[in-house]
Symmetry: C2
Subunit: 593 residues, 2 copies
């Protein structure tokens, strides 16, 4: 049977050994981010994930959500109780700001807790995850009154929040939104339209649901410049702060889908529902984008999280299942056959997963720490660089971690052979659940376009040049360290490939935008491979210093070498592909496919 155990030591290694978050105690929220306290929080959080959320993972998949005749939605058995437990014990307040009743824990620490929840039960974790996204959007764009009215209950999770963007005719291209908002005399708006694929649009976990809805005010400009953001509570909030009258919005149906069955994916009908403008008229996308970077990091993390749980179970299977004998002679003479982990091709798949997961986790936390620095550093230069990095790394992290996370979950399934294809072992669920991460919060193709079309060129390429300089600097000062030569050589090669690809893009992407589009996904992969190489270089540095004390560090050094030797070679192939440009890709007339 599948299991999940939070990889607390690996998380602590990144937080404290690699990122040294204890050195940022001058920042708000970091005062207590000591290794000891971190241990306590991560251990407890891991227990919650293992004991409360993971046991509901398969139930959620098999039962799914059910829409009742009255348009209410029942979540799978046990979800309601587990959610109440999380709220009651204040788990959702960990990362929220103290003025909203939160504990103000660093974003980077909260990310580790969220990773655990996502590994243990992705469909469940999406409910508080989306609420946090909506909460942050309200904090960024809402009025003081709105913040006070919705903030504390959303922060604690007593109320849920949702994001309503997609409509049947538009997903990626939000300029096509038709949902309309008609101003009322009292300053509110009547919202009318249909939204689809609304995660948690209706559920039985919370007494109120605060919908954030993109809509077009009557007479607004066409396209993306006429979109405004509204807050539309399921129950209109009374003056005393309690949920009051039922608003004119409801779940019109649930989507049948490949995975995340425990999360209700709703068609939401707004039939003249009462809503209030968030921020300025026609500037709804601006608030949305503030929130979207963090949401996208969260999705990248989900890719990592599914790879992690799949990997844990693949390790168990590879050690337990006996089949065939080692190519180099019998290893387990007392057994009818050797455990399959003796076979190099099984090892290859496990090492691929391990090298990806640990690199991906470092990349996620490293980026999240820039999120903290961007918001909290007293130094303007630091805030600027952190903002640059967050913006640049977000699309890479989202797409690279979900692409590879899905691939690695599939490798974990493959190690199980036929057992991986059956429901019993859980692997096929991890794969199905993971598949959505390549799509939502902007498909991975959209991430690639965001990277090459917007983030790369922003401020004259300031962010990416700063990243190149950082890697060059690291290579320069570490080149003579012993024990990490392989990784430094790899970083040097990756850095050169990436600079080469960037130069190609600058020379060819502007003269023909299709060249940029054609190169975008390969460039993103090249970037992701390079970023993980840098992460392995940072990890190897620490591990080499500590090597000898503990095999934990030997394994890090080894895994970094493996990453550079057996995964990084793909970078050259992405570089070769991206340089071929758009011509062959665009030549065939569309009707001849």
């Amino acid at each position: 049977m599948p299991r999940y155990d939070a990889p607390v030591r690996d998380m602590q290694f990144i937080l404290h050994d690699v990122l040294s978050i204890q050195n940022y105690s001058n920042l708000p929220g970091f005062e207590d981010a000591t290794p000891d306290l971190g241990d306590a929080i991560l251990e407890e959080s891991g227990k919650l994930a293992k004991e409360a959320l993971f046991p509901l993972n398969k139930i959620g998949d098999v039962q799914g959500c059910v829409r009742n005749a009255d348009a209410s939605v029942k979540t799978p058995d046990g979800f309601k109780e587990a959610y109440a437990q999380m709220v009651d014990n204040g788990w959702l307040l960990l990362g929220k700001s103290p003025d909203m009743g939160g504990q103000g824990l660093p974003y980077v620490v909260n990310m580790a807790a969220n990773e655990m929840n996502s590994s243990a039960n992705m469909a469940f974790a999406m409910y508080p995850g989306l609420t946090s996204g909506a909460f942050e959007a309200l904090m960024a764009g809402g009025s003081e009154e709105q913040k006070a009215m919705y903030g504390p209950n959303m922060a604690s999770g007593k109320w849920a929040g949702t994001m309503n963007l997609t409509e049947p005719q538009c997903g990626t291209d939000l300029g096509l939104i038709k949902t309309k908002a008609v101003p009322q005399a009292d300053g509110s708006y009547k919202i009318t339209g249909q939204k689809i694929w609304i995660s948690g649009g209706e559920q039985d976990l919370t007494e109120n649901i605060i919908h954030l809805v993109l809509a077009r005010i009557e007479g607004a400009p066409e396209g993306i410049k006429g979109i405004s953001l509204f807050v539309v509570p399921k129950h209109i909030v009374n003056e005393d702060g309690t949920p009051g009258d039922r608003n004119a919005c409801s779940c019109g149906g649930l989507e049948e889908k490949m995975g995340i069955h425990g999360n209700a994916t709703c068609v939401m009908n707004y039939d003249g529902a009462t809503g209030w403008l968030v921020g300025e008229e026609h500037k709804g996308m601006r608030t949305m984008f503030v929130m979207m970077n963090e949401a996208r990091l969260g999705v990248g993390m989900q890719g990592l999280a599914q790879a992690e749980i799949a990997y844990q179970n693949a390790v168990d299977f590879a050690n337990d299942r006996v089949q065939g004998r080692s190519l180099t002679g019998v290893q387990a003479p007392d057994k009818p056959a050797d455990p399959v982990i003796v076979h190099p091709d099984v090892r290859r798949m496990l090492m691929d997963q391990k090298a990806f997961i640990e690199g991906a986790r470092a990349f996620t936390y490293w980026t999240a720490l820039y999120g903290d620095l961007h918001h909290k550093s007293p130094d303007e230069k630091v805030r600027e660089k952190a903002g640059d990095y967050m913006a640049l790394m977000t699309p890479v992290l989202k797409a690279f971690l979900t692409d590879r996370g899905f691939k690695m979950a599939n490798e974990a399934l493959q190690i199980h052979g036929g057992s991986g294809f059956t429901q019993e072992w859980g692997l096929e669920q991890f794969v199905r659940d993971c598949r959505i991460t390549l799509i939502y919060e902007g498909t991975n193709g959209i991430q690639a376009l965001d990277l090459v079309g917007r983030k790369l060129a922003s401020n004259g390429g300031r962010a990416v040049f700063s990243f190149f300089a950082e890697m060059d600097d690291f290579i320069g000062t570490r080149a003579r360290d012993t024990g990490q030569e392989t990784v430094i050589e790899g970083l040097n090669a990756a850095n050169e490939h990436m600079q080469d690809g960037t130069t190609w893009l600058m020379q060819n992407g502007m003269s023909d935008f299709n060249n940029a589009g054609a190169a975008s996904s390969d460039y993103l992969q090249l970037f992701g491979l390079t970023a993980l190489t840098y992460m392995w270089a940072l990890m190897a540095k620490v591990a080499v210093e500590k090597k000898g004390d503990d095999p934990f560090y030997d394994d890090k050094v080894l895994t970094g070498q493996y990453y550079v030797s057996r995964i990084l070679p793909e970078a050259a192939s992405h570089l070769a592909k991206l340089k071929t440009g758009a011509e062959l890709m665009m030549a065939m007339p569309a009707d001849r496919f």
Copy 2:
């Protein structure tokens, strides 16, 4: 809504333009393989797939199979009628030998028909597919009496056949089989044991099911050398050839699985069932292996088939869905947005699919033609080469086409964005159904081991050296042809990479078998990439000659160039990976993962 239309023209292009099967009219079964007759068969077969099988594809997925309390199994609504239609109209006899009532159509033509059925409804097509496998095994290993008793009814599909290999403790390692066979005075055996994952082990489509069962005769040697093959009919056949007494074997349960829900995956319990030995005692694996090569080609074809149907629907979606505007300016001013096929990254995914599918189809049919030549050529030299190629190419084709087929089906899903994740559009089913092809008939890792450990070295490498020489020869004679320079250059590079990888394996794989195991999957990918390059070279040659007549040929030339420019670069990365050897892969102790 999803659709399927048989790609008849592409199939004919390969059969008649590229492989020129009409030139083999001296071989039995090929007399009538003219383009005209081929058209008629393929058109009709395509109609059957589209009109009878495809409409049941989603029903089969949603309903699945049901085991009744009496251990009988109900297949999804409509399966029974569609199967009866196939049997009544003689569809299953197309490729069967004339002495069994078949039409004796070439294997290569039958492969095209099977591809259609697999695209349209993979779960359904597995029922006759497994029957054909069991039929071929009986033809290869059975006595004249057994052939006469079971052959004609299995050939027509009136009776089904199954393959019973796997047991709970063994899948890959069949030496661990425990099912036992006790000899009886009348020459029969009593078979007792449990088999799992038996496709079509029980169903309501046929009046009898002929199980082929691997078991160990009491007192047999341990391991793989003590395995015998038995025929165990569900109903023992009366002297008049009708199904008689019910045998002591039954379905103990159905597996809950990720996909192919329309196919009953059974636990089969043999409780002293009556069976008869097929071939010699303890030589069961020999007969199994005869059959397995063809079965593995069939699985490779399934990977291609799922990629094909996924691609067709992705093309439709990309042309229909409007979202965003082209990077180079508005393309569809009359619409609210441009069709997504204008976006380079969508094009990239479509071209990747197209270049894979057409190359994979050529590789499948090219290999299948060697199957015909191996069995039917009057020339011993030709038979030998064909046998060599069949053996060598089989693991490559099985693993490469299913790995990539799954990847490409996922790309087709990705083009659909959120719609791809919902059941409505069918894509998520194609992906789930396809996933098993990487596992059954030997996991893809096992294929890679079969390739490097057995097939490559067989007869001193005669097969692979012959393949190198064939490519060298092609490059030499075509190097000066105009219009196909890109493809010839690509073939030259691929050929060099593959020879390089082969040399590395010969030098390092024998001294440390783990090096061979560690390199095996990357070597197989390198081989597959090279084989498809050769296929594109063969196709480009014809297309260049016919270019100008018809845009169909221009598209082939273009797609071949695309393949070489944008897919083949992966070969170098596999070469780099395989040369790193086993050391890093095997270094970490198993209990530290």
